[in-house]
């Protein structure tokens, strides 16, 4: 059987999702065997242009990015968003809620005008995305499962229920109920990570995106009861889900 040709591409991001692929351990060798990787900057100096499946990491944040991702879309049969930056805009979109002239000035001073930059966007703002592998960074097991589904021509399964369900199954004490409470986005966030953050005692920050029809007002009420202000709540959304209003 001919191996499907696969490319990995990165836009604005930390490249942690591609690194997660490189950290698959023995499974990495299986991946090398089952697909023909023609483009993977993190691992190879070879750059092929004939790929069927494109895994795309990172957000769109310059006008050049728009051209480049459209070219990738034109070549690939299947485009997969890899990680929160590609899926939701990720942490890159935090700056969308600040004044852009301030943002540029604070980083580059009077040279700010030299650099091409637009508001950070998820990739589906520019191209049609066939599948999403969420999270920041992607989960190794989910990546392997989802890739297997895609290779079989199926849609990967991504749960629609909230992180709290996974968290309860792990019998964690809820972070809101600890002696020093930590606010948590689990009630409105899509599960599938095994509630990895609350399971080690830290907040779910919503990196897998919101569930369909989340009860946001009930969740916001809980945060207010814990003393968070409206501004704080907005900042919480802005970590990963600042663009949800635009997306829904």
């Amino acid at each position: 059987m001919k191996k499907p040709k696969v490319g990995f591409f990165e836009f604005t991001c930390c490249e942690g999702c591609q690194l997660t692929v490189l950290s698959l351990g023995d499974k990495l060798l299986d991946l090398f065997e089952s697909v023909d990787i023609v483009n993977f900057r993190e691992a190879s100096s070879y750059k092929g242009q004939d790929y069927e499946i494109a895994f795309i990491e990172g957000s769109i944040s310059t006008s050049k990015d728009i051209e480049r991702i459209k070219e990738i879309r034109a070549r690939a049969k299947i485009c997969v968003a890899l990680g929160a930056c590609a899926h939701l805009g990720g942490v890159n979109a935090i700056r969308n809620f600040q004044r852009q002239s301030d943002v540029r000035w604070r980083t580059y001073g009077d040279k700010a005008w030299l650099f091409d930059s637009i508001l950070a966007q998820p990739i589906d703002a520019v191209i049609k995305v066939d599948h999403v592998i969420p999270e920041c960074p992607i989960d190794k097991k989910e990546f392997l499962r989802a890739t297997a589904s895609i290779l079989l021509g199926k849609k990967p399964f991504i749960p629609d229920y909230p992180v709290c369900v996974d968290c309860k199954m792990k019998a964690n004490v809820c972070l809101f109920h600890k002696p020093n409470p930590i606010a948590c986005m689990g009630p409105v966030t899509r599960a599938g990570c095994g509630a990895v953050c609350p399971s080690v005692g830290n907040a779910c920050e919503g990196c897998r995106g919101l569930i369909p029809d989340p009860n946001l007002s009930a969740w916001e009420e809980v945060l207010k009861e814990h003393g968070l202000s409206i501004e704080d709540i907005l900042k919480f959304y802005h970590m990963y889900n600042g663009l949800m209003g635009v997306r829904r």
Binding site: C14, L19, S23, D26, S44, D65, T107, S117, I182, G201
Partner: protein, 443 residues
């Protein structure tokens, strides 16, 4: 060949976050221009932090770089603790040191095996290497897996650590977990190191020397990664809050990475600087490895950085075993009740004492500085992050200026390869060191 015009455009890398190009311009045998261009999308992390509650900085800044997210988290935590006036517990600091060592091991393994090794055996990447030299790839995978197991156990996840927060950890590791990790390290150290040495000792290191200023952290008692004073081999030591006396920053138009360099001259950060400045504090096996690789301190050959990384990787394994032993002999405590850790979304935040704080650590690629200023409500007012690769840019350019005139009579391919290998040796972030280079010679 001298007297001719050469223009080398190497479409390369040089990340602070991403790609870069090498441009070398020679007119009638005379070097006109040397540039390392960064052409990556600007990230604006410093601006993103403005107006956020102080502990949020940790998880935001760790997303600057997926390879060294633990280092960013530690630099961020230390800057905040500096402003809070907190000294974390002994156990917290030991666990942080283990995390730093694991991250350095992971990052160095990636560079030495996945990026440098294919070069040395003439393969375009690690992918064909998996079938031609499977042992090398499998060793790399084992080393990386070990580093990941350590971080996964201690902080829930390696890339983008979860539970390391201001003044402690939101989870607790058990003694059984520690013992298991320790025995895994021991196994790798005993089985893999000799084979690895055999492979890397065969590498041909190009002959080139330029004496530069080696800058890194230093501290009494141990080879510094997590803490210490900033030491320059030329100008002496600086306290962390005085980092600006050594490191100034400027924006250069050909880079979206801001170049950082000392007020006087370019300097080098990273494995070779640490090796040169702190050689005496390396663990015993690491010193042996250095000897076998023919690496002596001080070395002024930047192509030796890969070897210095191998030495450090072995050091990290030995050092982690030592720290695990110390933890186990004291017994691991649950300190969360006595010292509640301050997580990004802890609802009640302690007030900030000082209006600013600085955190400095050794990331895999060198000195990493985070500095934050806070307002009275504990919100971040401004931030500055100085990344290792940005500090090395000026030094790499200085190396190229010395290197190029001496090799002008060689074939173009060789000039390009030597320049490319030089930039790669600095390991300017994995993504930077791999992709194909477009070379234009104008004759």
């Amino acid at each position: 060949m001298s007297g001719k015009d050469i223009r080398v455009d190497v479409h390369h890398i040089a990340r602070v976050e991403g790609h870069g190009n090498i441009v070398v311009d020679v007119k009638r045998g005379e070097l006109k221009e040397v540039k390392l261009e960064i052409v990556e999308s600007p990230r604006f992390f410093e601006a993103m932090l403005v107006g956020r509650r102080y502990p949020e900085a940790v998880h935001i800044t760790s997303r600057i770089c997926g390879i060294c997210s633990v280092s960013h988290a530690n630099a961020s935590i230390k800057a905040i603790e500096d402003a809070l006036g907190i000294k974390p517990t002994w156990q917290t600091e030991v666990l942080r040191k283990i995390l730093m060592a694991a991250e350095i091991m992971d990052s160095h393994a990636l560079h030495c095996f996945f990026l440098a090794a294919p070069d040395f055996v003439g393969a375009p990447s690690v992918i064909p290497l998996a079938s031609t030299s499977p042992e090398v790839v499998k060793t790399a995978i084992r080393w990386k897996k070990l580093a990941h197991d350590i971080c996964d156990t201690i902080v829930g996840r390696h890339t983008q650590p979860i539970s390391m927060v201001v003044d402690g950890f939101t989870n607790r590791v058990t003694e059984d977990q520690m013992r298991e990790l320790r025995s895994k390290i021991k196994e790798v150290l005993e089985n893999d190191v000799p084979k690895t040495l055999e492979f890397f000792s065969k590498l041909k290191i190009p002959a080139f020397e330029r004496k530069t200023d080696n800058v890194c952290l230093t501290q009494p008692g141990e080879y510094a990664f997590y803490d210490g004073a900033i030491k320059s081999s030329k100008t002496g030591e600086y306290k962390h809050r005085d980092y600006k006396l050594k490191i100034a920053e400027q924006v250069v138009s050909h880079s979206t990475a801001k170049q950082a360099f000392g007020p006087v001259k370019p300097y080098m950060v990273g494995a070779l600087s640490r090796f040169n400045n702190n050689f005496d504090q390396l663990m015993p096996k690491a010193k042996e490895v250095a000897e076998k690789l023919g690496l002596e301190a001080p070395s002024h050959n930047p192509y030796q950085i890969t070897n210095a990384q191998i030495v450090e990787t072995v050091h990290c394994m030995e050092f982690m075993m030592k720290l695990f032993d110390e933890l186990l002999s004291r017994g691991i405590k649950d300190e969360r009740e006595e010292r509640p850790p301050i997580a990004g979304w802890t609802t009640k935040l302690p007030p900030i004492n000082k209006s600013w704080g600085v955190g400095v650590v050794e990331a895999p690629r060198g000195l990493l500085v985070h500095e934050y200023k806070f307002n009275n409500d504990g919100m971040i007012e401004s931030a500055n992050c100085i990344i290792p690769t940005a500090q090395n840019l000026a030094n790499i350019e200085a190396d190229m200026r010395k290197l190029v005139p001496g090799i002008l009579d060689r074939p173009k391919e060789e000039i390009t390869l030597l320049l490319e290998m030089l930039v790669r040796a600095y390991d300017p972030c994995i993504s930077c060191s791999t992709h194909m280079l477009k070379v234009d010679f104008i004759e």
